[in-house]
């Protein structure tokens, strides 16, 4: 009986695709920045273009303004990118960035990457989360 539980536990662990969470907003803490990201509307509608709001503060809690970055991303486990090409469209308040054109076409673990347009910049952060039937429909 014990073997059975061990095998089941191992199988479950092996089949766990990711440690990402479906909780929104996604919070990314780095040595330089605290990034908070969430869709402007919830739930996320599968296969529909929508926008995200990204707050970027420094570690002292001060908003980081004037950043310019491009958006990439995708599903690492499936080896494909985002189905659209989202763009940074606005910074309505200091440190608050709006990206539009985001679409997810399947459930699972997604990444949205923020990459500074300056090639010499080290600004490259990944927002990872699980799109599931709780946060999306």
């Amino acid at each position: 009986m014990l073997y059975k539980y061990i095998i089941i536990t191992l199988l479950v662990l092996m089949n766990s695709p990711s440690m990402a969470s479906s909780t929104l907003p996604v919070i990314v803490r780095t040595p330089q920045y605290n990034i908070t990201a969430e869709p402007t509307e919830l739930p996320i509608i599968l296969n529909k273009i929508h926008s995200w709001i990204i707050h970027i503060d420094d570690t002292a809690g001060q908003p980081v303004q004037g950043l310019e970055f491009q958006i990439k991303g995708g599903m690492p486990a499936h080896q494909h990118g985002l189905p659209t090409q989202p763009e940074l469209i606005n910074e309505p308040k200091p440190g608050e960035y709006i990206i539009d054109g985001v679409k997810f076409n399947m459930y699972g673990t997604w990444q949205i990457e923020l990459i500074n347009l300056n090639p010499n910049s080290q600004f490259h952060y990944k927002i990872e989360f699980d799109l599931d039937h709780v946060n999306a429909k």
Partner: protein, 420 residues
């Protein structure tokens, strides 16, 4: 010793037979308990009680007069250049708006069903149209389909259906009504003299012809926006398991068999992978993916990679002059993904509704049976150096059988009334 050998042989044979039986015919245990996560997935696959459609580029999408004109044009063979075919010749209403395998007409690509088509964002197998009305115009000027030109269609519709056109789109275009137009003229005609005819018309008349031509597309789209799939045994099973907290074996006999339920379980599982692309009530995400299926159709060789460029240049796209939308509403075009290797060979994910009754399969009908399709996905060999969105399923034969019997539950019992 000899006897011992015989016993060993008999035991080995028995084990082999049992293994083969288990692998081939193993019947899964009856699964009647669904997790909350699984129930949420099942609800997302059920047909909605009411469909919501919108297309900001088509103000006439839900206008009944436009839909009526579109319905008449859809079945009107007189519209085509040689008065022999109509949209309904290939999108056969009695066959879920697809082309029956035993039809007199043969095409080198699959005809997708139109049931539910209005809920998609992109059209054609390579996504070369960003609206249903822009898509409707493509076969009209395709030389192997309707084969005519926009000038021919505009004159035909204004002469044959003037009252209906007015009811749907307002007054008749005075400039066109008072001008003698060439019988055939289009910038995309297969014939040089018809292209020259177009050039001679001048910008003002060209614009008026294009406007009426766009309206023809919009009326065909309005009709297609009335075509929706109907509930199947699968949908009723979803009602059965989601309506009550009690398991179905208490509230009544399950509407799906044990194997069908096991197939459904596989379909929505990470192992089955099906729901990655075949999600939502139409069992399609409406997007484009690479299956590297052998012998791709010419338009599938580049697939979405070329379709994107076509859609961006199309004068009848969402950002074009004949669109009814504000530019900001054209997000699918504005945020379109271009020039990615992932797009090469990517084709549109078809709906799986009524799939058992709409053979053959894949975009060019490469497979005759669902069994062949599932075996292909089970192996999913990817040519070296090619992007593929498939990973081998590695399912056992009995699991493939379960998936197949589940897919049969997506068929409507009868198709007397395909619309609602």
């Amino acid at each position: 010793m000899l006897t011992l050998n015989k016993v060993m042989v008999i035991i080995s044979s028995a084990i082999t037979v049992l293994l083969i039986y288990f692998i081939t015919y193993n019947s899964a245990p009856v699964i009647t308990i669904w997790t909350q996560e699984e129930l949420a997935i099942l609800r997302s696959l059920r047909l909605p009680s009411k469909w919501k459609t919108s297309d900001p580029s088509n103000n006439y999408l839900i206008k009944p007069q436009a839909a009526l004109l579109g319905k008449l044009l859809f079945s009107d063979t007189q519209l085509s250049r040689y008065q022999q075919i109509a949209c309904a010749s290939c999108h056969q209403p009695e066959h879920y708006f697809t082309l029956a395998a035993n039809s007199d007409i043969s095409l080198d690509k699959q005809v997708p069903t139109l049931l539910g088509v209005a809920s998609f964002n992109w059209f054609m197998l390579d996504g070369s149209a960003d609206s249903l009305w822009a898509q409707a115009l493509i076969p009209l000027e395709n030389q192997i389909e309707h084969g005519g030109t926009r000038t021919q269609y505009v004159q035909y519709v204004l002469n044959r259906y003037p009252q209906l056109y007015q009811a749907a789109f307002g007054s008749l275009p005075a400039l066109l009504m008072n001008t003698i137009l060439p019988e055939q003229a289009s910038p995309t005609s297969q014939y040089v003299d018809e292209q020259k005819n177009w050039q001679r018309l001048g910008t003002q008349i060209q614009t008026e012809i294009n406007r009426v031509y766009a309206n023809i597309g919009k009326s065909l789209a309005a009709y297609q926006a009335t075509l929706w799939p109907r509930d199947t045994r699968f949908d009723r099973y979803i009602d059965q398991v989601t309506a009550s907290s009690r398991p179905p074996d208490i509230s009544g006999k399950p509407l799906l068999s044990a194997d069908e339920i096991a197939g459904l379980k596989l379909f929505i599982s990470e192992q089955g992978q099906c729901i990655r692309c075949h999600n939502g009530a139409l069992f399609s995400n409406g997007d484009f993916h690479v299956t590297t299926v052998p012998m791709p159709h010419l338009s599938a060789q580049k697939g979405r990679l070329a379709g994107v460029e076509y859609a961006l240049k199309d004068p009848f796209n969402c950002l074009g002059y004949y669109s009814d939308s504000e530019s900001a509403q054209c997000k699918e075009l504005i945020f379109i993904k271009r020039s990615s290797s992932e797009l090469k060979g990517a084709t549109k994910v078809p709906s799986l509704r009524n799939i058992a009754d709409t053979a053959p399969y894949m975009h060019a009908g490469q497979f005759s049976t669902l069994t062949e399709v599932l075996h292909y996905y089970n192996r999913a060999a990817t040519p070296f150096g090619t992007h593929s969105d498939l990973a081998p399923l590695k399912l056992l034969p009995y699991q493939l059988n379960q998936l197949e019997v589940f897919l049969l539950t997506l068929s409507e019992e009868n198709i007397d009334e395909p619309t609602r």
